[in-house]
Amino acid sequence: MTTPPDGPARPARPDVDAPLVQRAREGDQRAFEMLVIKYQRRLERLIGRMVRDTDQVADIAQESFIRAYRALPNFRGESAFYTWLYRIAVNTARKALHDARRDPLVLEASRPLGDDDETSAPQREPTDMTTPEGVLASKEIATAVNAAVEALSPDLRQAITLREVEGLSYDEIAELMNSPIGTVRSRIFRAREAIAQRLKPLLDTRDGERW
């Protein structure tokens, strides 16, 4: 699998989030929540690379989404939604870092301790959300997803890979696979359903009502 950079995506084609953004701009809060679910992990990884305190990552991500929500009426769609959200998150993280430097309590807590304090070292490095539990969970999920993708029929595998990894539109996939666009839509949906079935034991789907 490829690992694209965390930075803003290329805005060459229409923004995939345009329908949800439009609905959110019209006052549909559910549409904004759907965007949050889609991007929260990406945003947290980005912020985790900027701030040192793991406890701050989720708070800054929350603040970024709230700022984005408030600024949504001003979003003109000149860039992709994620590009815009990315900038908001970077600015929010920078402000949090700046504020932390001015806070004497935080400053005191971040001062180097003696060499005998073994617990202080990990807190000083950018976290990147790489706690041992997090690494294990992400490895398990990635392994399950890869196995599920491999188990798909070639048509479904190609369709979902072209969409999720290559980022192609349905039109482009239809052209590449020489299939009607409705078939592409159906294949991607079926692929997602099949992979989700394999992933179910790893995700906490018993608490469906929380979503």
Binding site: E26, M34, Q62, D128, D204
Partner: protein, 188 residues
């Protein structure tokens, strides 16, 4: 698994949701998919699962915090509940031509309002004794906002409606303590 036969009806809403995930829905389909997402708990679970699948296919490290995703969204949902509903100003029906029309009116109105303020200040200063002029200049006389706004009010009802929508959205107080004037749409 056969991959191209038509979907059963019960799966169509779910299929729409999948297409919405990729930005491949028309406006009415997006509306249906959002309604389905709100009404069906399984749809909300699947939306999250599909997002995780996409992230896992692109980069393994994106799935490190999947366990707390639901709590994160729940917390954000509570905060959003305290936020006012955001509404972008509705576009004017006339499109680009109407926008040019607005720009022309807005530009003329701004110039007229500016001139009115400057002229008012000059007249007031000239009519005051010399000793009071310094005091007047330093104490920032109140800006005659109502006449200026009235002068800028367009006669076009569509334009007046558009500006009214903007004023509705504008904050109640502008920086520096100047309050925006509520402009009613012109009666036909």
């Amino acid at each position: 698994m056969p991959s191209s036969h038509p979907l059963p009806p019960e799966n169509r809403s779910h299929s729409l949701l999948s297409a919405l995930c990729d930005g491949e829905t028309a406006a009415d389909e997006a509306r249906l998919a959002c309604a389905h997402w709100q009404a069906d708990a399984q749809a909300r679970v699947d939306w999250h699962t599909w997002a995780v699948i996409g992230d896992a296919m692109r980069a393994e490290s994106l799935c490190a915090s999947v366990e707390h995703d639901a709590d994160f969204v729940q917390r954000l949902r509570e905060r959003l509940a305290c936020e006012p509903i955001v509404l972008a100003p509705a576009p004017l029906a006339g499109g680009a031509a109407a926008t040019r029309h607005i720009n022309r009116w807005a530009g003329a109105g701004a110039v007229a309002a500016g001139l009115a303020v400057v002229a008012g200040a000059v007249v007031m200063l000239r009519t005051q004794p010399a000793g009071e002029r310094t005091l007047m200049a330093a104490s920032n006389p109140p800006v005659p906002t109502q006449p200026a706004a009235s002068a800028a009010a367009p006669a076009d009802p569509a334009l007046a409606g558009y500006l009214f929508a903007h004023r509705q959205y504008a904050p109640t107080a502008m920086p520096g303590g100047v309050r925006p004037v509520a402009l009613q749409p012109a009666q036909p």
